[in-house]
Amino acid sequence: MSLRIKTRFGILRIERRLSYTRMFSAAMSILSIALAFAVVGIILVIMGLDPIRAFSLIFGVYVKPPLLLESIKQSIPICLSALGLGIAFKMNFWNIGAEGQLYMGMIASTGIVLLHEYYGFFQGWMLLPLMLASSFILGGAWCLITGFLKAKLSVNEILPTLMLNYVAILVVDFLVHGPWRDPKGYGFPLSIEFPSYAKLTLIYGSSAYTGLLLSIAAAAAVFVLMEYTRPGFEIKVVGQSVNVARYAGISVSGVIMLGSFLSGGLAGVGGLSIVSGIIGRLRPGASPGYGYTAIIVASLAGLNPWLIVVTSIFFGGLLTAGGALQMNMGIPGSATQMIEAIIFLLILVGEFLKRYRLILERGVRD
């Protein structure tokens, strides 16, 4: 029996779709985004702003090379976090803490740079590899806190991962207002600027190219992990059913801890891409919510690593467009966040329409 809703026009029936093609799924996602822009357009009209001009600014971002490069730069932390979330979500581990894990990655990267600059540790060429490793470890450890609580004490992961975001942001605030403040920075809460060999500008002087390579490499690694290795398989089994996993002799708590560590680690590397790819130093509020945007990206891409790379660039473009909207039309920066949220909500409605169909039975009454 399916769900029926009585309306004046007859009975509205919601029926499960037995199957749908990949084309249909893609069409639905694109339709959701188009609808979201329609909704945003209506809001802009109500607020007395010109929607055509706003949209041409937004879509202009993807065709103008310098803005496209900026969008790719902005997409790196989103992409790396979303790849991590993909692992966690496949495990049915609701990691909402990518934002905090990004900040921990930034702290680790900055820590390595400061050790080098203040105390003369390491040689210049060692910096980037060390930053990569340490940001992965610290980001992973931050997520592992919750992974441990879930695995060993069965604490639900949603709220702890969220809370740790706020804590991580405060740790960065503490560091840049205190011990890590640039002594020559006129008292501003900023770390020193990274030396050029600690920045992701190895190719053509823009961090977009190196960053994109990093994203693609990470996507490939996640793809191989999930499709061709034993831990990846175990992560998926735990996500499908904890009981089946136990029955198959999989150590569920071990898998949860490994999966959460990898998930946080990827976001941690995303933190590295912020400080050494986008800003070049550590400062408060370094992430405008990349970790939350990553949740939208992971859902829209259906947790597929390759689609995550592409979808991130779309959202990186939205962030870039936010700046243009503010400068040219005086639309506040929070508009980007609003657009993202509306896209997110409509994507979810699209998910529903993919799985179910609505049938209106005219003239039937019961």
Partner: protein, 325 residues
């Protein structure tokens, strides 16, 4: 000394009321099986709307509109999680993001000016640009407010604090002593059985979710008008999520939520007081972590407790119901 105790207690209640109001409604939603993770977003919308509508029409209109918009926002969540059976975690997060984005948008100086002029064209220029709104006045209760220590702290507050005193026992009574409360709890425990007994599962879940939205809107209005009446983007700073952990700490019981709310109120008050003493003058940021860390610790303790006693969690929390399955 007495004055010091009184002021600490008073601030504890003022902060605790934010959490109490938000968690009272959420208890209903979760008892019916719906996790409303949109609490944070609804609260900040309530705060932003209180800001704008207080300037345009005054306190009462602001509080009412916050509640109404809270109910409407939670209706989105209800449709998506009850009828569309979508994942409640993701849906709630989407709602929170919407609240954070939309509140920042409507309360930003550029957009707010236009909204205020549409609502009330005769507003003077200084009200169009201010970041503040008049705070809710204190309304000492005659006689009761004369009691030493307790009077000054409990009964010399604003109206919304008194609303929370009445609402908590009332919500407890409805939940545990009325037919509606029984239906609501049964829907959260075993919707199929409730359905078989003639309870309209969908209707109850819609109502419970809307109640949670209304209270979250009210909590946002109180946060702004009764506690911190100057606008800042992201002003709730995770308070909605702390309220969510408080719901778990209270084991879904409105009366226990009072204790939990004042516990978190106390933690935050402690944070402000320690700052005054010069403790952490260099690092207010470390002290500011306290509420979040306490929330995590309570979640750990309560989950341990829950395993031991097997009490608490509504059995169908987060699981969509459909007759066909």
């Amino acid at each position: 000394m007495i004055e010091w105790i009184e002021s600490v207690l008073r601030l504890t209640i003022q902060v605790g009321t934010i959490y109490l109001l938000a968690s009272l409604g959420e208890i209903y939603a979760e008892r019916s099986g719906i996790l409303n993770l949109g609490l944070e977003g609804i609260m900040i919308m309530g705060a932003a709307l209180s800001f704008i509508f207080t300037l345009a029409y005054g306190h009462l209109a602001a509080i009412l509109i916050s509640i109404i918009v809270g109910v409407l926002m939670s209706l989105i969540l209800a449709v998506m999680s009850v009828h569309m059976r979508l994942n409640q975690v993701v849906t709630g997060l989407a709602l929170t993001m919407l609240g954070l984005g939309l509140s920042g948008f409507i309360a930003s100086p550029e957009i707010r000016r236009g909204i205020l002029l549409t609502l009330n064209p005769s507003l003077p220029e200084n009200l169009l640009t201010t970041q503040e709104a008049p705070k809710l006045p204190e309304a000492p209760i005659p006689l009761l407010s004369e009691i030493p220590i307790l009077g000054g702290s409990f009964f010399n507050q604003n109206v919304l604090v008194y609303v929370s005193y009445v609402a908590a026992p009332l919500m407890w009574f409805i939940l545990f002593k009325t037919r509606f409360g029984l239906s609501l709890r049964s829907v959260g425990e075993n919707p199929a059985a409730a359905d078989a007994l003639g309870v309209n599962v969908y209707l109850v879940r819609y109502l419970a979710t809307m109640i949670s939205g209304g209270f979250a809107g009210l909590a946002g209005a109180y946060l702004f008008l009764g506690f911190q009446p100057f606008w800042q983007e992201g002003l709730t700073a995770g308070k909605g999520f702390i309220a969510l952990s408080l719901v778990i700490l209270s084991t879904w019981n409105p009366l226990r939520a009072i204790l939990g709310a004042y516990l978190f109120g106390g933690v935050e008050t402690l944070q402000y007081r320690l700052q005054l003493f010069g403790l952490g003058a260099q690092s207010p940021y470390i002290l500011a972590m306290l509420p979040y860390l306490v929330a995590i610790i309570t979640l750990v303790l309560i989950s341990y407790e829950n395993i031991r006693k097997r009490i608490g969690v509504p059995a169908s929390l987060g699981i969509p119901y459909s007759r066909e399955e």
